[in-house]
């Protein structure tokens, strides 16, 4: 009898101790917010363009954390979808064309002599990358511009162009080797890269 009692008491004691420990830990090491949102947010391109239908990258990250689609970000393209799929361990789905197509990196450029200084683009820019004041010419800080094109629509005189970024030689890097066809008859017309010497 006393053996059973001892066992029960011992187990109860252990339960109390661990319960207290767990209770303490859950208060002491409480995590504020959802850490997965931060992780998702860090994978998004931060253009804040709203093409996904959310007002910025973080809200999109929040919607993904709640189980939303991961294929709504055209600026991030396939690379972002891949990264998100890997992070969340879900299947990578092709980019939803409803939200736009993946296009090469762009930057907004104001045709400065046409700018009337209305400040509408400044208010539209989600990252404060446009400089200028009322009735004075505005200009885009090219190095900060994410190419979200949110400034194009509000411009009353249509003086903002989205220009593909020419990164020049500094950004050049080797392309990936093409998978060559090893079947001899398919190799016809395979041209060696390089200058035409003859």
């Amino acid at each position: 009898m006393s053996v059973i009692l001892t066992a029960i008491l011992a187990l109860l004691g252990l339960a109390a101790v661990f319960g207290a420990l767990l209770g303490f830990a859950s208060i002491r090491f409480k995590v504020d917010g959802n850490p997965i949102v931060d992780e998702i947010d860090s994978l998004l391109p931060q253009t804040q363009c709203g093409q996904c239908g959310h007002p910025g990258c973080r809200p999109y990250a929040e919607s993904i954390a709640e189980g939303g689609d991961i294929n709504k970000c055209p600026p991030g393209g396939e690379a972002t979808i891949q990264a998100l799929a890997e992070l969340l361990d879900v299947e990578a789905t092709p980019l939803d064309s409803e939200h736009g197509e993946e296009i090469p990196k762009q930057v907004a450029v104001i045709r400065e002599d046409e700018c009337i200084g209305c400040t509408k683009c400044i208010q539209a820019c989600p990252i404060d990358a446009i400089l200028g004041s009322a009735k004075h010419m505005h200009t885009v800080i090219a190095s900060e511009c994410t190419g979200c094109d949110l400034c194009v629509e509000p411009c009353p005189v249509d003086c903002i162009d989205m220009v593909p970024v020419d990164q020049g030689l500094a950004a050049w890097h080797w392309h990936s080797p093409k998978d060559q066809n090893i079947i001899a008859t398919d190799k016809m017309g395979l041209v060696t890269e390089g200058a035409n010497l003859s």
Binding site: P45, T47, A134, T146, W174, N181, A195
Partner: protein, 789 residues
């Protein structure tokens, strides 16, 4: 200092020391066919001056040089064309005398085959040197002078990387240089440029190394040379006899000429991941660089030419040439029997690490050590890649002790983070793995691509982090502005509630003061915060008024006071409007919000003023009735009050309109706003006119009532007359002032609003003075009357 590297009596021992030095080994490596005899049999040739030189502004690692010559300018050989831009950059000089023809985008020596900014120099054929600054004894120069001269000469690493040499002549800040290594391995097949240079100009190489040693003060000076160059070894040993430089012969194995590999071979030290040789006290230089340093110091000659190997079966007379920097490769090859039909392609650099040139007009640059024109038989294009059979040969030969197979999988699957964890960036891209791969997988190209992708991703990550930071900062700013706005709105609401409460208190004090509520209210409007003081003052005034009333004069005073206050208020409102408008005009539309707030304030005050005035008028009506009862003679009072009411209502409507305008206020609408304000001004003028009429009629009334009083009293009131005179004159003054005001307002231009405001303020003060005088006069006259009665 340099003497320590000079001859010592024990120099005869040197050869023994050299031969006994332990040579270590590095992991892996391969033994490709050397093919060096093809080009190392003949002396370095001097090609003629080409008809055109194309000089890229970027031939080195770092920032491109800054152009300092003008188009059409005639330059002499060795004259500086472009200056080094920043710490890691190199100057560029004219390889021969001639005319600067143009600055164009021209294909440059880059694996992409893309174009870069190039200076085109058309030689005049005279090959005329500019004035040089030779120096017989480098020991006489300070170290910093030597560094400056090397920088000025535009010397950049000639082994292939093109790192500006001057930077590598500064010893590391924290440490001394333990070992200075001259890399003479030249391990890549076909290339013999350094070999020929050492054979023919061993003296220059050794002297150059001595100069470097003088600048760096290393513990030891070593030359690492592969044993497949016996003539060069002999020449170097001969030249180094009288010095402390050790010529270390290393076994032939590719890639012993890699910086990290030669350091391992000679010192057994390994450069840790992510560090450079200087971090472990080793400095590595190329033999070609040493010769260039020597020429820069000894003769003051900048780097304008280099020894380049022209080799391969596609060239009839392969060999080494001292080519001017900027010589177009197609022209240079044509001088040595280039057979375009035989050559499959042109490779810049060696067969292992070089890259296929996409444009044969690409110029020779400071890093071009070899132009290879192999036939199809020599260097066939790689067969199609097959599946990896996991043989592990690549891992056996990797000189960086990596796992090429793993790197291949990760690069191919774009799992770049994993590739990075497998030390992808330690890969020196030597190509040994691809060379041994039985499946002919272009491994190095996968690594190069992965490296580029990772670098790009890191850059993009950096940019997106920056964008996030900016976005969050903006959100924070917007929230803060909203909070400030809310706080201000709340403060205004509180102030309004307080004023309301004060009014109630004043209303509560009404019974005590009998007919004094008008005064109390009016006063309380002005000084809502000091309620008690206001009530006190109101009580005092009401007392005085009671006295005055008993002398049958009070309603006029009350009228005037109420009118005055109302007018003051309107004026104040207008002033504020003007200020706000000025702000809006002077600054940006961001302040339109401020303006709106100002108008809201105005609105509130006008409402309060109106309430006060209504109350005042009601009580005045009562008073008037009372006085009518007593005196029966105050008929024109009510029309006055009606006029006042109209004036105030007009002011109100003006302000309403103003507010509407402001609500829609856009920068373009500032003009509209101005017009609205002008309208307001006109209306205020009307209000003032109404007031003037009212006051004028009241003055008449005052006179009438005085006469009446005199009649009722049935006594000639002599003492009263001066008082009435004073009263009249005061009111006249006030009227004239107001007329002036009106004139000013009539001519009012937006720019003059400030002036106008000041004028109005002055006027107010004067009217106040006049009224005070009037108030003072009335009680006295009342007392006098009382006394007389």
């Amino acid at each position: 200092m340099s003497t320590s590297f000079k001859a010592t009596p024990s120099s005869t021992l040197n050869s023994k020391i050299i031969s006994t030095r332990t040579i270590y080994d590095f992991h892996g490596g391969i033994h490709p066919e050397e093919m060096k005899t093809l080009s190392n049999q003949t002396a370095i040739a001097q090609p003629p001056i080409p008809p055109k030189l194309v000089l890229p502004l970027q031939q080195h690692i770092g920032k491109p040089s800054q152009l300092i010559v003008e188009l059409g300018q005639h330059v002499l050989k060795g004259e500086k064309l472009a200056d080094a831009d920043g710490m890691i950059s190199a100057a560029l000089h004219a390889p021969t005398s001639g005319i600067i023809d143009s600055l164009i985008d021209h294909p440059i020596a880059h694996p992409s085959g893309e174009s870069g900014a190039c200076i085109v120099l058309i030689p005049d054929g005279k090959d005329e040197w500019c004035e040089l600054e030779p120096c017989e004894h480098y020991e006489h120069l300070s170290v910093s002078k030597i560094q400056a001269k090397v920088r000025e000469a535009g010397v950049a690493g000639m082994g292939g990387a093109g790192f500006p040499t001057e930077v590598k002549l500064h010893p590391p800040h924290h440490d001394k240089v333990a070992t200075l290594i001259l890399n003479a391995a030249e391990c890549e097949p076909y290339i013999t440029a350094d070999d020929r240079l050492m054979r023919e100009r061993a003296e220059e190489v050794i002297q150059g190394m001595e100069i470097m040693a003088y600048a760096l003060q290393p513990g030891e000076c070593l030359i690492g040379i592969e044993d497949n160059k016996p003539e060069a070894i002999a020449a170097l040993r001969e030249a180094a006899k009288e010095t402390h430089i050790e010529v270390c012969v290393i076994p032939t194995k590719y890639p012993s000429g890699g910086e990290k590999q030669i350091i391992k071979l000679l010192t057994d030290k390994e450069v840790p991941n992510g560090q450079i040789p200087a971090d472990i006290g080793v400095m590595c230089q190329n033999v070609g660089t040493a010769a260039a340093v020597y020429r820069a110091i000894r003769f003051g000659e900048p780097l304008i030419s280099r020894v380049t190997t022209l080799t391969g079966e596609g060239i009839e007379q392969p060999g080494n040439v001292e080519a001017l920097i900027g010589t177009p490769i197609d022209w240079l090859l044509s001088q040595y029997g280039f057979q375009a039909k035989k050559a499959e392609r042109l490779i810049m650099g060696g067969p292992m690490m070089g890259y296929t040139l996409k444009h044969i007009e690409t110029p020779i640059v400071k890093t071009t050590n070899c132009i290879l024109a192999p036939t199809h038989k020599d260097l066939p294009p790689p067969p199609p890649a097959q599946a990896c059979i996991r043989c592990g040969l690549c891992a056996d030969v990797c000189p960086a002790v990596l796992l090429p197979q793993q790197l291949y999988w990760f690069s191919r699957a774009q799992e770049y983070d994993k590739a990075e964890h497998h030390n992808l960036f330690d890969c020196i891209e030597c190509g040994a793995c691809s060379y041994v791969c039985p499946s002919s997988i272009p491994l190095v190209q996968y690594y190069r691509h992965a490296k580029g992708e990772i670098k790009q991703q890191k850059q993009e990550q950096l940019k997106s982090d920056q964008a996030r930071e900016r976005f969050e900062a903006r959100q924070f700013r917007l929230e803060r502005e909203q909070a400030e706005k809310d706080a201000k709105r709340k403060a205004r609401a509180d102030a309004a509630a307080k004023a309301q409460a004060a009014k109630k208190v004043a209303a509560a004090a009404k019974p005590a003061g009998a007919d004094t509520d008008t005064q109390a209210n009016v006063t309380q409007e002005d000084t809502a915060d000091t309620k008690k003081a206001a009530i006190q003052a109101a009580l005092e005034r009401s007392k005085a008024k009671n006295q005055a009333k008993s002398a049958s004069q009070p309603e006029d005073v009350i009228d005037l006071d109420a009118l005055k206050t109302a007018w003051d208020k309107t004026q104040a409102k207008l002033d504020k409007m003007h200020d706000a408008l000025d702000d809006a005009k002077a600054n940006n539309p961001g302040q339109v919000e401020k303006l709106t707030r100002a108008v809201e304030k105005n609105q509130m005050r006008v409402t309060q003023a109106k309430q006060a005035w209504e109350k005042a008028s009601t009580s005045l009506m009562t008073e008037t009735e009372t006085s009518k009862d007593t005196k029966t003679e105050q008929p024109s009072e009510t029309p006055d009050l009606a006029a006042l009411a109209t004036a105030l209502e007009k002011a109100q409507s003006k302000l309403d309109k103003m507010q509407d305008a402001l609500d829609n206020a856009q920068p373009e609408q500032v003009e509209k706003l101005t017009r609205a304000v002008d309208k307001n001004k006109v209306r205020v003028n009307q209000a003032k006119q109404a007031w003037q009429e009212a006051s004028a009629s009241q003055t008449t009334k005052v006179e009438t009532s005085i006469e009446l009083t005199a009649n009722t009293a049935d006594q000639p009131n002599k003492t009263e007359q001066p008082d009435i005179d004073a009263l009249e004159s005061a009111v006249e003054k006030a009227q004239s002032k107001l007329e002036k005001m009106q004139d000013a307002l009539d001519n009012a231009q937006p720019e003059q609003i400030e002036k106008l405001t000041r004028a109005v303020e002055k006027n107010k003060v004067r009217v106040q003075t006049a009224e005070n005088a009037l108030k003072a006069a009335i009680p006295i006259s009342a007392t006098t009357q009382n006394g007389e009665q």
